[in-house]
């Protein structure tokens, strides 16, 4: 039971709980205490230190901003105005809110308000769905489209929209880069003939990809009236992110161990058997490393692309909050920052776990 749960934890990348479990079962107390300290206590301490530095920094910035405003009021309008400004700032009234780097507690409040907002919007959505249910049935009978909720999406909805975009982009990258990578890996002449193209296109910025894709999609989509922003953003994400997989796949396929190739030659395997029995399995670790990089690049460029393409998602959430300038906008941006980081981390962990499932690792 104990060993099994340790194995599972290690497998899904939560191996740092191992000493806690071993300790709980009374195994090698001293050694496990040290491990526990290293793997759990130290990281918690470093998080605490981080929060401390953050709040010190933000209160410092707050004071700079505050003193600047009071001094400005004093210089422009005299001492009474300065006193008024100070009391106004201290009271925390919305009129003279100071906007700078928010403190951890402000961010926490913003996080809770975003959750509350999500709850209220979901409630509204449910109510709306209930209200139009009967009408929608009728409309369906008449062959009309159902009426859908078109109100503001909540923060959580934005997260799911972003995830949907990133997965669509990732799948696109997978289906383009892996087959092309295999072909490039198999043929050296093909590889050297398109190498220049790959080297030139690889470093192109996400923004330019977006513009390029929108040029094409907008022209092609002239006759359809649907919203093309999702199409544009997922294709751009896929194109930006596919290079790591493409390069890794062709490298993996072209550098298959010569011994394995000799085995294929002696056995006179045909090209299909050679690819599926020997080349692909042996280059799988490299292909998967490429896919992992692709997914994290996809998630990273997604935010910038959503921001520019005005397609819904976390990127446009950040941009809207920045433009909005409400008193908790900055805190919400920081919340979004953490959410983006944590989701990126989780995506990478998921890929790592899948990789452990499907690839072999050679003993070193």
């Amino acid at each position: 039971m104990k060993d099994k749960s340790i194995n599972i934890l290690n497998f899904i990348g939560l191996g740092f709980f191992e000493p806690a479990i071993r300790l709980a079962s009374g195994e090698e107390t001293k050694k496990n205490l040290v491990a526990l300290f290293k793997k759990i206590v130290l990281p918690i301490l470093s998080v605490g230190l981080f929060l401390l530095l953050w709040s010190a920094g933000s209160s410092h910035l707050y004071n700079i901003e505050k003193e600047f405003r009071i001094e400005k009021a004093f210089n422009e309008r005299g001492e009474a105005a300065a006193r008024l400004e100070r009391s106004c700032i201290d009271s925390g009234s919305k009129d003279c809110q100071i906007t700078t780097l928010p403190s951890p507690s402000q961010v926490w409040v913003a996080y809770k308000s975003l959750l509350a907002d999500h709850a209220s919007i979901s409630a509204k959505k449910d109510a709306f769905a209930e209200k139009v249910a009967a009408t929608n049935v009728k409309r369906a009978e008449q062959g009309l489209d159902a009426i859908t909720y078109t109100g503001r999406p909540s923060f959580v909805d934005q997260i799911f929209t972003s995830l949907k975009t990133v997965f669509a982009g990732f799948l696109l990258a997978l289906f383009i880069a892996v087959p092309i990578g295999i072909m490039l890996g198999l043929s050296e002449s093909l590889r050297s003939s398109v190498n220049w193209l790959i080297q030139i296109l690889k470093p192109v910025s996400p923004v330019v990809w977006l513009l390029l894709v929108s040029m094409i999609v907008n022209t092609l989509g002239k006759n359809s009236d649907g919203d093309s922003s999702f199409t544009i953003s997922f294709i751009s994400v896929g194109l930006c992110a596919m290079w790591a997989t493409l390069v890794n796949t062709s490298m993996g396929v072209s550098s298959v161990d010569k011994d394995y190739i000799n085995v294929a030659k002696v056995l006179q395997l045909n090209i299909g058997q050679k690819v599926f029995k020997i080349i692909l399995p042996s280059s799988f670790p490299l292909i998967f490393t490429g896919l992992r990089i692709t997914l994290s690049v996809a998630w990273m460029v997604l935010i910038a692309i959503e921001l520019l393409a005005q397609s819904p998602g976390l990127g446009s959430f950040v941009w809207e909050e920045f433009q909005n300038g409400a008193n908790d906008s900055n805190s919400k941006i920081i919340v979004a920052m953490f959410v983006i980081g944590i989701i990126g981390f989780l995506l990478d962990r998921i890929m790592l776990t899948i990789q452990k499932f499907v690839t072999f690792t050679e003993e070193t």
Partner: protein
């Protein structure tokens, strides 16, 4: 079919040995072009190997032993000369010449069983599934792996991996077996064990075998003839030693045999001069 008959007849008419030799190498030359001119590895090398004969080739590193073997296997193009195996001039690799490489060369993501089956399927594609299954299991148990058949190759030790390599080579029922320093990477204890495994399987199958080795004792214990190659470049056959021990051989009997040290001295003398 007709052409094959014809060519056989023509060969006999030309007075060429039809059945006497399994492998006939004539004037084999291997040249690697380099910027400073051609580098001749093997120069007009002649070698004939009889049916069911086990020969070992010994020589210093870099003398072209492995080049010779890979050319017989068809993995390395021939610059000049011919290699005729089982009455057919070889043009490329094929399962009629089984190879046991120095590194076991198993596909690490497959089980021992699947590694052997990959080749068996290729050679006995016409047989039933049951037949193929029997072949794979028979040879894996011959090399002492009945309990490790379904382990992934990467989870096996080097010695066990090479056992799978032996099973894989024999299971394809090749006409010629080529062994490229198959035990070179193993420790001496495991090496001895595997020599026993190899000779045991070989005693039953009697496949014409050519083995490259560095090891004087190994070559005496296993081979009917030891071919000594001169040092490269322009390597050729320097000397041939017939080993007259009865088969099946037991290691102990071979070591106790009065001729053993004579043979050993002969080989070491050649290698040192």
């Amino acid at each position: 079919m007709e052409t094959l008959e014809n060519s056989k007849v023509r060969r006999s008419e030309n007075g060429l040995f039809e059945d006497k030799y399994m492998l006939d190498i004539t004037q084999l030359t291997k040249i690697y072009p380099t910027p400073k001119g051609d580098y001749v590895v093997l120069d007009d090398l002649d070698l004939k190997v009889k049916h069911e004969e086990f020969i070992s080739i010994i020589g210093h590193s870099g003398c072209g032993k492995s080049t010779l073997l890979t050319m017989i296997a068809g993995l390395n193009p021939i610059s000049r000369g011919t290699i005729v195996a089982n009455n057919q001039t070889i043009k490329g690799p094929g399962p009629d010449r089984g190879v046991i490489f120095q590194s076991p060369s198993l596909l690490p993501w497959m089980t021992a069983y699947d590694n052997v089956m990959l080749g068996v399927k290729q050679v006995f594609g016409h047989g039933t599934k049951k037949d193929r299954d029997d072949i794979v299991k028979y040879y894996l148990s011959k090399v002492g792996l009945e309990d490790a058949m379904y382990k992934k190759a990467k989870d096996l030790s080097q010695g066990m991996q090479q056992r799978v390599g032996i099973a894989r080579a024999f299971a394809l029922k090749p006409k010629v077996l080529l062994l490229d320093e198959p035990f070179g990477m193993l420790d001496s204890l495991t090496r001895g064990e595997l020599q026993d495994v190899l000779i045991e399987v070989w005693n039953q199958e009697k496949i014409t075998a050519i083995m490259i080795t560095h090891d004087v004792d190994e070559s005496i214990f296993l081979a009917d003839r030891v071919i000594m190659m001169t040092s490269g470049p322009r390597a050729k056959v320097g000397d041939i030693l017939e080993i007259d021990f009865e088969r099946p051989r037991l290691r102990k009997d071979v070591l106790d045999h009065p001729d053993y040290y004579k043979y050993r001295e002969h080989l070491i003398n050649f290698l040192e001069h």
